[in-house]
C-alpha cells in the first residue's frame, strides 16, 4: 500500500476518532446507571458511528482503490489506526465515560463548526451534521459534569479522579503534523489550535462551576495520531474485528 496522502490520512484520523469513541460508548448498552442514560449513551454512540461511516466512505473515495467503510474499520492492524488517545480510554465508571465525552465534545463541537466552511464539499457536509450532534453531546455531558462535580462527595471524588487520568490525553487534541499543516494552509482543514481558546473556556467554566479543580501542569501524552496506542486498544480491536477475522472475506 503506498503512503497515504495527507487528505486520506486526515480523514481516516477523524473517522478513527469517531469509530473508537462510538465503540466505547456502545459497550455501555444495557449497563448504564439509569434507563435514560442507556438511551443517551446509545444515542451518542450512534451519532459517532454515523460520523465514522461517512468519513470512512469518503476516505475510500479519496484513496480510490476500492476500499469501503468496513475495510477501514475492520481490516487494518492496530498501528494503522490513528485516533486520539482520549477516544480509546476504557470506559471506567460513569464519571470517567462522561468526562471523556465532555472533553472530546468541547473540542469536536467548535472544530466541526469551523470545518463547515471547508472548500472540500464532503468534509463541509460531514461537519454540518457532526456539529449538530456534538452540540448535543456537549450539552448532555456538561450537565453531568455539574451533577457529578457538585452532587455528592463520592461523585465529586470520582469525577476528580477521572480528570487526573484523562487530562494528560487532552493535549493531543491540538496536535498536527506536516501533512495536516499543508491542508490547513489550503484551508481544507481547520487548525485544531484555533479552537483551543473555546475548548479551554468551555472546560474551565464548566469544571469550575462543577467545583472540580483543573490540573495545573501535566505531562501530555501523544502517540494516537501516529498509531501508538494504549495497551487497552488492542483488546478493543480484538473484539471489534472478531467476526471479520473469524470468517474472512464474507458478506455480513
Amino acid at each position: 500500500m503506498p503512503a497515504a496522502s495527507p487528505l486520506l490520512r486526515y480523514v481516516l484520523r477523524r473517522a478513527d476518532d469517531a469509530l473508537i469513541l462510538g465503540h466505547r460508548l456502545s459497550e455501555w448498552c444495557g449497563h448504564a446507571p439509569m434507563m435514560e442514560e442507556d438511551m443517551a449513551l446509545a444515542n451518542m454512540g450512534l451519532d459517532l458511528l454515523g460520523q465514522a461511516r461517512a468519513l470512512y466512505t469518503y476516505a475510500g473515495e479519496v484513496e480510490g482503490v476500492g476500499r469501503n467503510e468496513d475495510d477501514f474499520a475492520y481490516r487494518r492492524i492496530e498501528r494503522d489506526y490513528e485516533n486520539l488517545l482520549l477516544t480509546e480510554q476504557p470506559n471506567g465508571d460513569f464519571a470517567h465515560t462522561m468526562l471523556r465525552q465532555f472533553l472530546y465534545a468541547a473540542f469536536a463541537y467548535p472544530y466541526w463548526q469551523a470545518m463547515m466552511t471547508s472548500p472540500d464539499a464532503t468534509l463541509a457536509a460531514i461537519a454540518a451534521k457532526s456539529e449538530k450532534e456534538m452540540a448535543y453531546h456537549l450539552r448532555h455531558s456538561a450537565e453531568w459534569m455539574l451533577r457529578l462535580g457538585d452532587g455528592t462527595a463520592e461523585s465529586h471524588r470520582r469525577l476528580a479522579a477521572a480528570l487526573e487520568i484523562l487530562w494528560p490525553t487532552t493535549g493531543e487534541l491540538f496536535t498536527t503534523d506536516e501533512g495536516e499543516q499543508a491542508l490547513i494552509a489550503q484551508a481544507i482543514a481547520t487548525d485544531p489550535e484555533s479552537v483551543r481558546p473555546q475548548w479551554t473556556a468551555t472546560v474551565t467554566q464548566t469544571l469550575t462551576q462543577a467545583t472540580i479543580e483543573i490540573p495545573a501542569k501535566a505531562w501530555m501524552h501523544t502517540g494516537g495520531r501516529q498509531g501508538r496506542h494504549s495497551e487497552a486498544f488492542g483488546h478493543l480491536l480484538t473484539e471489534l474485528q472478531y467476526v471479520q477475522r473469524l470468517i474472512p472475506n464474507a458478506t455480513w
Partner: protein, 331 residues
C-alpha cells in the same frame, strides 16, 4: 428520575370492590369495546393483572437488552453495528414506555424495578438463553421479535388505553426489528458454508424456546379466562403459537433452513408441531435457565454501580431546588 408521587399503594379495594353495580358498568364498557383509562373505575383484580402484565413486559424489554447487547461490540460490519445498537436502544425505549404505562395504574417504576431485581417479578423466558454466535442476532430478530409481534399485535386492541396505545408504537418498531433479523439470516444463508451452518445452529437453539414464548398450553394457562373476559388478551396461547408457526415455516423454507422438529407436518393447511418440552419452560421460568443468574446479576450490577450517579443527580437537584423556588417566587 423515578416518579416519587406514585410510591404510595393504590387505593385499597374494599370501598369499591363490592360495588357490583360499578363492576357491571365496567364489564359493559369492556364488552362495548370502550377503552378504560387511568382515572376510570376498575376492579382491583383488573388493575393487578395489568400491572403484572405490563411490568413483566417492561422487564422483558430491559432484560432483553442483554443478550443482544452481548454482540454490539462484535457486530461484523458498521451497518450491522449501528442497526443493532439502535435496536437495543429501541428496546430500552419500549421498557421506559411500558413502565410509564404501568405507572398509570398506580405503582411506581422504582417499585416495579425493585420487584425485578429482587427476583419477585418475572420476565420472558427467552432472554435466559445465551447468544453464542453472530447468527443469534439474526435468529432473535426473526423469531423472538416475530413471536413478540404475534403476541403484541392483539394487545394494540387491549381494553386498557395506555397499554394499547403503547403497543401500537412498540409493534411498529418490533416489525422493523423482525425484518432486520430476517435479513441477517438471509445474508448468512446466501453466504458461505460456515455462515449457513451458523444460521442453522442459531435456528436449532432458538426454535423451541421461541415456541415457549407464547406460554403454557391452553389447558394449563392460569390467567387466560379473566384476561379474555377483560379483553386484555384476545387470542389463546395455543392460537398465537399456531399463527406464529404458520407464518414462520415458509420463511424458513426461503432461507433454506430446516426447522429442528422432525414431527412438524402440515395437515389441511395447518402446521402441527412435535411435543414442546414444558419441563424446560417451567425450569427456565423458575430461575433454572442457562442465563437466569447472569441476567439478573447484570441488571443488579448496573443498578448498584449506578446508585452513586442517581444519588449525585438527586443531591444536585436538591441543592438547586430552593434556588429555583426563590426565583419563581421573585418572578
Amino acid at each position: 428520575m423515578y416518579t416519587q408521587a406514585l410510591n404510595q399503594q393504590p387505593e385499597s379495594a374494599p370501598r369499591e370492590a363490592d360495588n357490583a353495580e360499578a363492576a357491571a358498568r365496567f364489564q359493559a364498557r369492556i364488552d362495548a369495546e370502550e377503552r378504560i383509562e387511568a382515572n376510570d373505575w376498575m376492579p382491583e383484580a383488573y388493575r393487578r393483572t395489568l400491572t403484572r402484565q405490563i411490568s413483566q413486559h417492561a422487564h422483558s424489554e430491559i432484560v432483553g437488552m442483554l443478550p443482544e447487547g452481548n454482540w454490539i461490540t462484535r457486530a461484523p460490519s458498521l451497518r450491522r453495528k449501528a442497526a443493532l445498537l439502535a435496536k437495543v436502544q429501541d428496546e430500552c425505549g419500549h421498557g421506559l414506555y411500558l413502565y410509564a404505562a404501568a405507572e398509570t395504574l398506580g405503582t411506581s417504576r422504582e417499585e416495579l424495578v425493585d420487584q425485578l431485581l429482587s427476583g419477585r417479578a418475572k420476565y420472558s423466558s427467552i432472554f435466559n438463553y445465551p447468544t453464542l454466535t453472530w447468527a443469534d442476532m439474526g435468529a432473535i430478530g426473526w423469531l423472538v421479535d416475530g413471536a413478540a409481534i404475534m403476541n403484541q399485535i392483539p394487545l394494540c386492541r387491549c381494553s386498557y388505553g395506555p397499554y394499547a396505545r403503547a403497543m401500537i408504537r412498540v409493534c411498529k418498531e418490533e416489525s422493523f426489528h423482525q425484518r432486520q433479523g430476517y435479513e441477517i439470516m438471509l445474508t448468512l444463508c446466501r453466504g458461505n458454508a460456515e455462515q449457513k451452518a451458523m444460521a442453522q445452529d442459531a435456528l436449532n437453539r432458538f426454535w423451541w424456546p421461541c415456541l415457549m414464548m407464547f406460554g403454557p398450553p391452553d389447558t394449563q394457562s392460569q390467567h387466560s379466562d379473566m384476561s379474555m373476559r377483560w379483553k386484555i388478551k384476545r387470542f389463546s396461547n395455543d392460537e398465537l403459537r399456531q399463527k406464529f408457526i404458520n407464518a414462520t415455516v415458509p420463511q424458513a423454507e426461503i432461507l433454506g433452513l430446516t426447522l429442528p422438529d422432525p414431527e412438524l407436518k402440515q395437515i389441511d393447511g395447518v402446521w402441527h408441531h412435535g411435543p414442546i418440552d414444558w419441563d424446560e419452560f417451567h425450569r427456565v421460568i423458575a430461575g433454572g435457565g442457562p442465563c437466569n443468574r447472569e441476567r439478573l446479576a447484570a441488571r443488579r450490577r448496573a443498578h448498584d454501580e449506578g446508585a452513586w450517579v442517581r444519588e449525585a443527580a438527586a443531591a444536585f437537584a436538591a441543592k438547586r431546588a430552593p434556588k429555583n423556588q426563590t426565583e419563581k417566587q421573585a418572578a
